[in-house]
């Protein structure tokens, strides 16, 4: 419609002078460009504010198809860039009014980006999720409403209480196990972080997710990390390994807002 365009920022890396990978496209199929300053390169593309302005975003971020396509496009650029050299990924849908603002960012925060880059260089992120099966009987949903406390009702209540206790007990065991898994993996990693457990409706799994961990691991310890995951899995329970990821969960600027 109009010239209302913004600059979408994907990631920042050290500028080694390498060109942007040929044909690399980002969100909404836009071509990815480089903005260079202070020895850094910001990977960006020009987007329409009709789609990436604050107001349209507040709607489309809740459209799962749009979000899926946009998140994957963002991820694709980050992966392509991180494959070439250490890169600091930027949060989804970070849009500036123009390239000048990105240039100013690189100039003003150059040192912070430099430090962030040195924290992730030679390291990659791995994800480990631990699931626990709730006790089936205890998992029966409680009946709503219900009549008077008759004989069968009292018996039901008793069963229900026992069920709740065993469910609580199962939860405690699963949580303790998650702590152990996290401690072992964190001891191999240079940094670790626990994401919020995923909504069962999003993950598509009814089991409890008791750990949703992210681990930043030195590349030369990746094998050791994978072996530790195997060993932990062999001790029982379900562990899911994802990655390697670009260091999304460990990309922070020092004085930046903590996630």
């Amino acid at each position: 419609m109009t010239a209302d365009a913004g600059t979408y920022l994907y990631a920042v890396a050290g500028d080694s002078g390498t060109p942007v990978p040929e044909g690399l496209t980002g969100v909404a199929g836009t071509p990815v460009r480089a903005v260079r300053a202070s020895g850094l390169v910001a990977y960006v593309s020009t987007v329409s504010l009709d789609e990436f302005g604050e107001e349209p975003l507040s709607r489309s971020m809740e459209d799962l198809d749009w979000l899926d396509a946009t998140a994957r496009a963002h991820h694709h650029v980050v992966e392509a860039v991180a494959a070439e050299s250490p890169a600091v990924p930027v949060r989804l849908v970070t849009v500036y009014s123009g390239d000048e603002q990105v240039l100013a960012l690189l100039e003003e925060r150059g040192d912070d980006f430099g430090e962030a880059l040195s924290r992730v260089a030679g390291r990659r992120e791995w994800g480990v999720k631990v699931y626990a099966e709730p006790d089936d009987q205890a998992a029966e949903p409680a009946e709503q409403g219900g009549g008077a406390a008759t004989g069968p009702g009292a018996a039901y209540l008793k069963r229900r209480q026992a069920g709740l206790r065993s469910r609580e007990e199962a939860w405690r065991r699963a949580a303790a196990r998650a702590e152990r898994v996290h401690d072992v993996l964190a001891s191999i990693a240079v940094a670790s972080r626990r994401h919020r457990a995923q909504d069962p409706q999003l993950s598509g799994r009814k089991e409890w997710m008791v750990l949703n961990g992210a681990y930043l691991v030195d590349d030369d310890r990746a094998e050791e990390f994978a072996r530790a995951v195997d060993d932990l899995r062999a001790q029982g329970g379900e562990l899911e390994l994802t990655g390697p990821w670009a260091p999304y969960s460990f990309a922070t600027l020092d004085e930046g807002v903590a996630p």
Partner: protein, 66 residues
């Protein structure tokens, strides 16, 4: 452990897990709770939307669509 899972782990370990196989929910954990947050006046817009909110809205929408 299923064959599919062990194969996925193997690919992951070799760093060859194709990005199409990345689950959206795992990606969103990282893209909405991770990545550098550049605060300040320069930014026009930034994701500040809770995953829980997304799940609720998106699910309601997808259920309606079905």
């Amino acid at each position: 452990m299923s064959f599919e899972q062990s194969r996925g782990d193997l690919l992951a370990r070799e760093g060859r897990l194709p990005s199409e196989r990345v689950a959206l929910v795992d990606l969103l954990d990282r893209l909405l709770a991770g990545g550098v947050v550049v605060s300040g006046d320069l930014v026009l817009s930034i994701a500040d939307i809770d995953l829980v909110r997304i799940s609720i809205h998106a699910l309601i929408t997808s259920i309606r669509d079905d």
